[in-house]
C-alpha cells in the first residue's frame, strides 16, 4: 500500500521526520518497506522565466537565453527549439542530479558560459498524465501561474514522501490513507481528523432517478448516488499529483475521483452511464447459469450462480466488484452517472476474480474485505470532492439498500489476562491508553477491560487480539527492559526424542558421507515423461500431477528418485566435473488411485549415483550403508528397468523382499539422460530398513589357538559365481572354517575360453587345539574335491 506523507497529514497533525515515522510504524506492525522521496531528483531545479533569447555567435543550433530565476538572472545556452520569450520553464542549476542521471555543472558552450539547463518532463520524472506537455520531446513549458524562483518540487506538488507499507491480511482497514492515519495517531499520540464528507445536493431526489433492488446476500449493502451534468475532463492538479505519487495513472475526473477515494478511504466504487441502465433500475443479483457479459478488458465471460452481477432489467451491466460491462461504461457524451458504493462478500469476489482470471484494483480491495460503514463514508467523501471541485450536480439523498448493519462488538478482557498471555507486567492504565488511541473505546470496570470494537476492526474478537494491540504499540522491547515475567516458570520437564526414522536416515547419510558421497537435494517434481525415459512400465508411471505446476518439467510428484539423480549427474557431467558421487534422501509419492481422493502413500527413499567409479567400489559403499542396519541379505539379479540387466543387483532378505536395487544404468537410460555409460545408481527403501529390528551383536570369544591360512586358486567357468564358491568352501571346511576371501581373479587364453581363475585365501581354526599341517592339508583337499564335484573346478 503506497501513501504519501502529505496525504496522511490531511488527517493527522504531525511533523515527524519521515524516517522516524516509518520506524514507528514498522515497530507497530505496519512495515514500511520503502521510503520514496518524490523530489529526490528535483533538488536545485527551480521555475524560471525566459526574458531574452539570442543566437549563439559561434554555433548555428545553439541559443543564448537570459532566465529570471527570482533572486537573479542566469545565462543558459540551449539547443531546445520549443522555447520562447516569456515562457516559464524548469531550470536545473549546478548541483542538480536529474531523473535520467544527468548531473548539472557550470560549463561553457562554444566559448559562452552556461549556468544550468532547461528540463524536459522526462528529466523531471513526469509525463503527460501528470502535466500536459510533460511527454513532448522538448522543454516542459510550465503553466503561467507558477511562481518564478519557486523550487520545482514545491511547484509540482512533489515535495512529498511516499511510504510503501506492507499490510498484513488481518488489517484490510489499513489499505487506505485514513486507516494508516489512524495507526499514525496510535504510534505518535496525535489526534485523528475524519475527512470532510459534506456536499451540496439538489432538491430533486436520487430515488426518483434510479431504483435499486438488492436480491443477493453476497452484497450486504448497496449504495448509489446520481450525478447529472457531470464534468469529465482533466482532474485538478492535487488529485493528479497524489494519484501519480502512489502509482495510479490519472485519466479523467470521474475515474480519478473513484481511484482517489479508493486510496484515501479504502472503498472501491464504480460509475455507470445512467442512460444505459434499462428501466432506470439496478438489480443486484446472482448471475444466471450460462449468463455472459462483455467487460471493459474487451473479453466476454460466462458466469454462473456463484457469481454476483449488477444488472438492469434486461442485462448484466457489471461483474460486481470486479469489472464493469462495456454496455454501461462512461463515454465522452455521458451526462448523468450513477456512482455505486457497495459492500460485496469477499469470498464471492475472490472466487469470481480467480475463476475468470481478472484482477482489478477494485477486486483486489474487495478480496481483502470492506466493512459496512465504509460504503457510506466512501460515497460521502466522493460527493464532497464533486462539490469541492464543482464536477456535477448531485441528486438529493443517496440510495441505500442493505441487510442491516452488523452488531457492535464488545470484547471483555482484563489486564491480568493480557499480561498472562504476554508474560508482562504492563499497567492497566497503559492498556487503556493504547486501546483508546487505536479507536478501540475501552473502559476499566471492576478490574475488567470492556472494549467497544470499531466496525473497521473486524479482526478483534478476544483477549489475544487485544494483547497483540497492546504489545505492538507498547513495544516488544518490554522483554529487554526487565518488565517481563521470569521465563519457564511452572513448566513441566519434557524428554526430547529424535525418533527412529531420523536416526536411521542420519546413520545412512553419515555412512555414505564417509564413503565419499556428497549429499544432493532435488525438487520433488519431475516431468511427465520421466518414467518413459527410465523405461519404467510398472505402477511408478502413474504419477500424481500438480494442478498448477511451475512448468512441464516440474509437473509430477516423483515415484522414484532416479530421474532427479540422473539429471544431477548429467548436469555435473555437462560442466566437466570428474568422478562425481552423490546421494539423496527424499520421498516418493504413490497414488492408491488417480485422480487422488485420499492422501497417497509416501515412501522414504535413499538414492546413490556416481560415475568414474567401479561397480565393486560402488557396491562396497552401498554395503557400508546397509551395514548400519541389522539387515542380513543376499544379492540377486535386479529387474529394475532402468538398470543394466547383467550389471545390477537387488538386495533381498530370506523372503525375497527387496531392500535396495543397484548397478550400472541401462545403456538406453544413460543415453536418454546424457550421462556416461558407466554411471551407477542405487535406490534404497528406508521404510523397509526402518521396520527391521535394532542392530544387535552376539560377540564370540577371540580364537585361543592360532589361525592357519592357505591360498587356493581354482579354474571355473565364468557362470560360476563367487557366492557359489565361497558357500561351497565354507561348508567343506566344516567346523574348522574361520574366514574366506577372494583375493584375485585371473583370465587368460591359456585357461580356455569362458574360464576364469578364482584365488581364495582360506583361514581355518580349531577352538580346542593348534591345527597340524596334515589336518590343514586334509581340509584343503576336501575343499578342492567339493569344488570339483559341484562346479567342475580344477586346481590352477
Amino acid at each position: 500500500m503506497k501513501v504519501t506523507y502529505k496525504w496522511i497529514k490531511d488527517f493527522v497533525d504531525i511533523d515527524l521526520p519521515a524516517e522516524e515515522l516509518a520506524q514507528k510504524l514498522t515497530n507497530a506492525g505496519m512495515e514500511v518497506e520503502e521510503i520514496i522521496n518524490l523530489n529526490e531528483h528535483l533538488h536545485h531545479v527551480v521555475v524560471g522565466k525566459i526574458t531574452k533569447i539570442e543566437k549563439h555567435p559561434d554555433a548555428d543550433k545553439l541559443q543564448v537565453c537570459q532566465v529570471d530565476i527570482g533572486e537573479k538572472t542566469v545565462q543558459i545556452i540551449t539547443a531546445a527549439t520549443n522555447i520562447f520569450v516569456g515562457a516559464l520553464v524548469p531550470v536545473s542549476l549546478p548541483g542538480a542530479h536529474l531523473a535520467n542521471g544527468i548531473k548539472i555543472e557550470k560549463s561553457k558552450l562554444r566559448g559562452l558560459p552556461s549556468e544550468g539547463m532547461f528540463c524536459s518532463g522526462e528529466e523531471l520524472g513526469i509525463d503527460d498524465n501528470f502535466m500536459p506537455g510533460a511527454s513532448v520531446n522538448g522543454i516542459l513549458i510550465l503553466p503561467n501561474d507558477f511562481k518564478i524562483g519557486q523550487s520545482i518540487d514545491v511547484a509540482l506538488g512533489l515535495d512529498d514522501v511516499v511510504f510503501d507499507v506492507g499490510i498484513t491480511p488481518n488489517r484490510p482497514d489499513c489499505m487506505s490513507v485514513i486507516g494508516l492515519a489512524r495507526e499514525v495517531c496510535a504510534v505518535t499520540g496525535a489526534t485523528f481528523k475524519m475527512p470532510e464528507m459534506t456536499h451540496i445536493e439538489l432538491a430533486e431526489k436520487a430515488s426518483k432517478q434510479l431504483e435499486v433492488e438488492l436480491l443477493s446476500k453476497k452484497c450486504s449493502r448497496y449504495m448509489a448516488a446520481v450525478i447529472k451534468n457531470v464534468k469529465i475532463h482533466r482532474s485538478p492538479m492535487k488529485i493528479r499529483q497524489r494519484l501519480f505519487a502512489v502509482g495510479i495513472k490519472p485519466i479523467n475526473t470521474l475515474v480519478d475521483l473513484t481511484n482517489y477515494v479508493l486510496v484515501e478511504m479504502g472503498q472501491p466504487m464504480h460509475a455507470f452511464d445512467k442512460k444505459h441502465i434499462a428501466g432506470g433500475k439496478i438489480i443486484v443479483r446472482d448471475a444466471k447459469k450460462g449468463e455472459s457479459i462483455s467487460v471493459l478488458n474487451h473479453n466476454t465471460y460466462k458466469l454462473d450462480e456463484n457469481d454476483l452481477v449488477i444488472a438492469d432489467q434486461e442485462k448484466a451491466t457489471a461483474i460486481a466488484g470486479v469489472i464493469g460491462g462495456t454496455n454501461s461504461c462512461i463515454e465522452d457524451d455521458t451526462q448523468t452517472v450513477v456512482i455505486e458504493s457497495a459492500v460485496f462478500d469477499l469470498k464471492s469476489i475472490r472466487l469470481t476474480s480467480k475463476k475468470i482470471g481478472v484482477r482489478t484494483d477494485s477486486s483486489a480491495r474487495y478480496s481483502k474485505g470492506v466493512y459496512y460503514a465504509s460504503a457510506e463514508q466512501g460515497l460521502n467523501r466522493l460527493l464532497h470532492l464533486v462539490t469541492e471541485y464543482d464536477l456535477g450536480d448531485i441528486y438529493g439523498g443517496c440510495i441505500d439498500k442493505n441487510f442491516g448493519a452488523p452488531k457492535a462488538r464488545v470484547v471483555k478482557s482484563s489486564a491480568s489476562e493480557i499480561n498472562a498471555i504476554l508474560g508482562t507486567k504492563i499497567a492497566a492504565e497503559d492498556m487503556l491508553r493504547i486501546l483508546n488511541s487505536l479507536g478501540i473505546t475501552t473502559k476499566l470496570e471492576n478490574g475488567n477491560l470492556i472494549s467497544q470494537v470499531p466496525d473497521y476492526r473486524e479482526d478483534i474478537e478476544n483477549s489475544y487480539d487485544l494483547a497483540e494491540e497492546v504489545i505492538r504499540i507498547y513495544g516488544y522491547d518490554v522483554y529487554d527492559k526487565g518488565e517481563a515475567d521470569e521465563p519457564y516458570s511452572g513448566w513441566k520437564v519434557t524428554e526430547g526424542r529424535l525418533g527412529e526414522r531420523l536416526e536411521l536416515e542420519r546413520s545412512l547419510k553419515t555412512a555414505l558421507k564417509f564413503a565419499g558421497f556428497f549429499e544432493a537435494m532435488n525438487y520433488s517434481f519431475i516431468p511427465a515423461d520421466a518414467p518413459e525415459k527410465l523405461l519404467i512400465s510398472d505402477n511408478r508411471r502413474f504419477m500424481i500431477k500438480i494442478a498448477n505446476p511451475l512448468g512441464e518439467e516440474l509437473s509430477c510428484m516423483r515415484t522414484t528418485l532416479a530421474h532427479s539423480m540422473l539429471a544431477s549427474l548429467a548436469y555435473n557431467y555437462s560442466v566437466g566435473n570428474k568422478s562425481v558421487k552423490l546421494f539423496e534422501s527424499g520421498k516418493t509419492f504413490h497414488a492408491h488411485a488417480l485422480p487422488l481422493t485420499e492422501l497417497p502413500q509416501e515412501c522414504n527413499k535413499l538414492s546413490m549415483g556416481a560415475y568414474d567409479m567401479s561397480f565393486a567400489e560402488f557396491k562396497a559403499c552401498l554395503e557400508a550403508a546397509l551395514s548400519e542396519t541389522s539387515l542380513s541379505y543376499k544379492l540377486v539379479r535386479s529387474k529394475e528397468p532402468f538398470l543394466h540387466p547383467g550389471i545390477s543387483a537387488d538386495v533381498v532378505d530370506e523372503n525375497g523382499e527387496v531392500y535396495a536395487s543397484f548397478g550400472q544404468v541401462h545403456p538406453t537410460v544413460a543415453k536418454n539422460y546424457e550421462v556416461p555409460k558407466n554411471t551407477l545408481y542405487a535406490e534404497i527403501d528406508m521404510d523397509k530398513l526402518l521396520a527391521l529390528p535394532e542392530k544387535r551383536f552376539n560377540i564370540k570369544p577371540v580364537p585361543k589357538f592360532p589361525i592357519v591360512e592357505r591360498d587356493l586358486a581354482v579354474v571355473v567357468k565364468e557362470q560360476i559365481s563367487n557366492e557359489d564358491l565361497t558357500i561351497a568352501i565354507k561348508s567343506a571346511c566344516g567346523k574348522l572354517f574361520y574366514d574366506v576371501k577372494l583375493f584375485d581373479i585371473y583370465r587368460s587364453a591359456s585357461l580356455g575360453e569362458g574360464m576364469k581363475s578364482m584365488a581364495y585365501n582360506i583361514r581355518l581354526s580349531d577352538e580346542n587345539k593348534t591345527l597340524t599341517d596334515e589336518e590343514v592339508t586334509e581340509v584343503i583337499a576336501k575343499v578342492l574335491k567339493a569344488l570339483k564335484f559341484r562346479y567342475g573346478a580344477s586346481l590352477r
Partner: protein, 339 residues
C-alpha cells in the same frame, strides 16, 4: 708378560680409534678378541708363565679383555646408531603427498543446519514429529485458522493436486495432526520439506522448515522470547541477540517476526544484513486459541506458542551462501566446499 699385555691394550685402543667402519671393526675384533686373536694367544702362552704368577697374569688378561670388549662395544653402538641415523634419513618421504583411500564426502548445508537445530531442540526437551508432504486442505490451512477463500490464503502460493489435496506449504500441518493426537503438555518440533508456487532469485518452490510448538499451562510470549534467545545463541553464538517485531500469522495471536543479530557483523551492520545489523529469520507467536479449540484442546486451561525457521535460509546465512540456486543444483564444486 705384563708389559706385553699393556702393549696389546695400548695398541688395540689406539687402533680402535682409527677404525672407520663396521668392517674394520669386525677385523679389529678378530685380531684382538677372536679365537685366533692376540689375547687368546697370550692365554695359550700361560704354560710358560711360572705357576705362582699365573693367577695374577690371568686376572690381568681378563682385565685387558674386559676393557677391550667395553671399548669395542661402545664403538659398535656408536656405529649402529650412526647407521640407523643414516637409514632414517634415507627413508624420509614427502609428507605433503596426498593421502590415499577414498576422499570423505559431505552432507548438504541444509541437512547440516537441520541436524544442528534438531539436536538443540531435542536437548531442550522437544520431540520430533513428522507428517505427510501431500496434505489435505484442512491440516494445511483450515485447522490453522485459514478458512477457504480467506485473505490470509494470499500469504502463500500453494501447489494443488485436487481441490482438497495439496502440497503442504508449511510444516504447521504436522502441528495440527499432533494436537489432535497428543494431550498437553505438548513440546514438539516438525522438520520437513514444504512447497510454495513461487520461484525467483530469493524463493525456491521447494524448501525446508522446522517448526516448534509448545502447549502447557501458563506459557507466555515471555517464554517464547527466552526460548528463542537460547536457541539462537546455541546456533550463532553467545553474543547473539534477537528482537520481536509485530506481524501476522493466522495461527498465532499475537504474531511476531523474529530478527536475529547478524552473525557476520555481530549487529554492527554489513552487506549480509544490508546495514541493519539484524536478519529476519523466523516467524513466531502465541498460538491462536481458535487453533487450540479446533484441535480439541481447552484454550481456557492451556496456552501455547509456536515458532518456525526457514532451514535453507539459516544454512545460507550460516555458511555464507549467497545464491539460493546453488542449494538445489547439486554441483559437486559447490558441495565439495562443505567437506
Amino acid at each position: 708378560m705384563e708389559s706385553k699385555l699393556k702393549d696389546i691394550l695400548n695398541r688395540a685402543l689406539s687402533e680402535l680409534k682409527q677404525v672407520e667402519n663396521m668392517q674394520e671393526l669386525n677385523e679389529f675384533k678378530v685380531k684382538y678378541l677372536g679365537k685366533q686373536g692376540e689375547l687368546t694367544g697370550i692365554l695359550r702362552g700361560m704354560r710358560e708363565v711360572p705357576a705362582e704368577d699365573r693367577p695374577k697374569i690371568g686376572a690381568l688378561v681378563n682385565e685387558v679383555r674386559e676393557k677391550l670388549e667395553a671399548a669395542f662395544s661402545e664403538r659398535e653402538q656408536a656405529f649402529n646408531k650412526a647407521e640407523l641415523e643414516k637409514e632414517l634419513q634415507r627413508s624420509a618421504i614427502d609428507i605433503t603427498e596426498p593421502g590415499k583411500g577414498h576422499e570423505k564426502g559431505a552432507l548438504h548445508p541444509t541437512t547440516r543446519m537441520f541436524n544442528k537445530l534438531i539436536d538443540i531442540c531435542v536437548a531442550m526437551g522437544f520431540e520430533v514429529v513428522e507428517g505427510p508432504e501431500i496434505e489435505t486442505d484442512y491440516y494445511n490451512f483450515e485447522g490453522l485458522n485459514i478458512p477457504k477463500n480467506h485473505p490470509s490464503r494470499d500469504m502463500q502460493d500453494t501447489f494443488f493436486i485436487t481441490e482438497n489435496i495439496l502440497l503442504r506449504s508449511q510444516t504447521s500441518s504436522v502441528q495440527v495432526r499432533s494436537m489432535e493426537k497428543l494431550s498437553p503438555p505438548i513440546k514438539i518440533i516438525s522438520p520437513g520439506r514444504v512447497y510454495r508456487n513461487d520461484s525467483d532469485g530469493t524463493h525456491s518452490p521447494v524448501f525446508h522448515q522446522l517448526e516448534g510448538l509448545v502447549i502447557d499451562e501458563n506459557v507466555s510470549m515471555a517464554d517464547l522470547k527466552a526460548m528463542l534467545t537460547s536457541m539462537m545463541k546455541k546456533v550463532f553464538g553467545q553474543s547473539t541477540k534477537i528482537r520481536f517485531r509485530p506481524s501476522f500469522f493466522p495461527f498465532t495471536e499475537p504474531s511476531v517476526e523474529v530478527d536475529v543479530s547478524c552473525p557476520t557483523c555481530h549487529g554492527k551492520g554489513c552487506k549480509v544484513c544490508k546495514g541493519t545489523g539484524f536478519l529476519e529469520l523466523l516467524g513466531a507467536g502465541v498460538v491462536n486459541p481458535k487453533v487450540l479449540e479446533m484441535s480439541g484442546i481447552d484454550s481456557k486451561k492451556y496456552r501455547g506458542f509456536a515458532f518456525g525457521f526457514g532451514v535453507d535460509r539459516f544454512a545460507m546465512v550460516y555458511d555464507g551462501i549467497t545464491d539460493l540456486r546453488n542449494m538445489f543444483k547439486n554441483d559437486i564444486r559447490f558441495l565439495k566446499q562443505m567437506k
